[in-house]
Symmetry: C2
Subunit: 130 residues, 2 copies
């Protein structure tokens, strides 16, 4: 059950670090440039594995495909509702989010996420251009 260092896995990890919140498809495209015969399933598998092992982050947008993140520290995101692009939110993680909650009725909170939704500069510009 020991993890092995394959060329494919390295390429996937590098792609996530080189790209900005890429989707699996975008990672696949980038990796394919370096090694055109890499399989798509291999990309998905490695993204999952790297995320599980905490080497990369995973972002679950309210809409659209999963994104991956070179940052692994706790932070929040802003999603453009027009182009779907994900940005890091300039906001410190809440110190003790569970304290914001009242009686959860026995629900054990382990984690939390915040997503800001709106328009990125480029898409906002487009809405005012007509």
């Amino acid at each position: 059950m020991n993890r092995r260092n394959t060329k494919q896995r390295q390429l996937v990890a590098e792609a996530v670090r080189a790209l900005d919140h890429p989707s699996a498809e975008e990672v696949y495209a980038a990796v394919s440039r370096a090694d055109s015969c890499i399989g798509k399933a291999t990309v998905y598998r490695n993204l999952n594995l790297l995320a599980e092992q905490g080497e990369i982050g995973r972002v679950c947008p309210g809409e659209g495909a999963e994104r991956y993140d070179c940052r692994t520290d706790k932070h929040y995101h802003m999603r453009c509702r027009a182009c779907g692009k994900i940005f890091d939110a300039p906001m410190a993680p809440l110190f003790s989010p569970v304290q914001l909650l009242g009686d959860t009725g026995g629900f054990m909170v382990e984690d939390h996420n915040i997503e800001f939704v709106g328009l990125c500069p480029g898409c906002y510009k487009k809405t005012t251009e007509d």
Copy 2:
């Protein structure tokens, strides 16, 4: 383009109100009990339409299918990572979430969502039972 009050649409709206954060599939199952020949596409279409018109809420969980919500006021959710069930979070909506953000670099924030992730009472019990 005027909206019409069909029996199917009413059944979908009623099902969302009767169920607790149901998925489209769960709404379909409930509605099918009342009218067994309702089409699945009709359920999806009406959920989208009712959500767009603000008659029901839509919840986009970090994992799993979309959920629908009889509540339409701003509130947050807790999701059980084991069973996927969605609960209302006992937390008042942030008064001015944009004030929590620093310089967004021109990103226009319009909305935000918070999801707490953890274990619901039932699933937590199961983890301690062995």
